[in-house]
């Protein structure tokens, strides 16, 4: 399963890239507690508390860091049920601001932590059609 979100952010790519790669800055907007070595193959651990008071640990490894352009990391959490998912953030300058594309891929399709990529894509393409029929 994949999640893809595109956003226009009224700030420079330099500022947005720093917000993702400076540990002091990450902690400010992500909240929670963060330990990170910002380097390719560097590891990070991030824990925040959910609205219901549950501790939510996340961890991963940076796969690619391209200044002001791209951040790729692996991503594991309770939500991924032990699967190593992949988070890719790409930044591009657009009209004086930043176009940010966030892609979280390789997420499990269900709480059991199994991935059924083909089935998932098929499902998503059909949901609108099926849900619309009486």
């Amino acid at each position: 399963m994949d999640v893809k979100i595109t956003r226009r952010i009224p700030a420079s790519v330099e500022t947005v890239y720093r917000a993702w790669t400076d540990p002091a800055q990450i902690a400010k907007w992500q909240g929670g507690r963060l330990i990170a070595e910002i380097a390719v193959d560097g590891l990070w651990f991030w824990e925040h508390t959910s609205d219901s008071g549950k501790k939510m640990p996340h961890y991963g490894r940076y796969v690619a860091l391209e200044k002001n352009a791209r951040i790729v990391t692996t991503w594991m959490s309770k939500g991924t049920s032990g699967l190593e998912s992949r988070l890719e953030v790409t930044l591009a300058e657009k009209d004086g601001g930043t176009e940010l594309v966030l892609e979280h891929t390789g997420l499990p399709d269900d709480e059991g932590g199994r991935g059924h990529e083909g089935g998932w894509k098929y499902f998503v393409n059909r949901i609108a059609e099926v849900a619309a029929s009486p």
């Binding site: 700030a11 917000a19 907007w29 909240g31 966030l102 059991g112 098929y122 949901i127």
Partner: protein
């Protein structure tokens, strides 16, 4: 239930069956027509879909009529929206943060 639904749909024949049922209920014989396999083989695929909760069977006289059940699909959609919600909230915070950073810079 979700796991079963996904493994049921890992097979191309079963996906084709679901696709046809998405357009409306079909009789078993009618459903089997376009497939180059025996009625028994198609029936086996239908049984897998029934066990996964994707297909419901009703009887009209001697004929069995199959209807698609969209509920497992909606569950999947809800699961996906959890991650989308998570990232949309995070990106709201990121956006507020970077705007603040740039405002501070301008003041200096």
């Amino acid at each position: 239930m979700l796991n079963e639904a996904f493994s049921a749909l890992s097979d191309p024949t079963r996906r084709a069956i679901v696709e046809r049922l998405a357009r409306g209920p079909r009789r078993v014989t009618e459903l089997a027509e376009p497939f180059e396999m025996s009625l028994a083989a198609v029936s086996k695929h239908i049984q897998v879909l029934e066990r996964a909760g994707l297909v419901k069977r009703t009887r009209e006289g001697r004929e069995h009529v199959l209807t698609l059940d969209a509920r497992p699909m909606r569950e999947v959609a809800r699961y996906a929206s959890k991650f989308e919600k998570f990232w949309n909230e995070r990106l709201d915070r990121l956006e507020a943060f970077v705007i603040e950073v740039e405002n501070q810079k301008e003041k200096k």
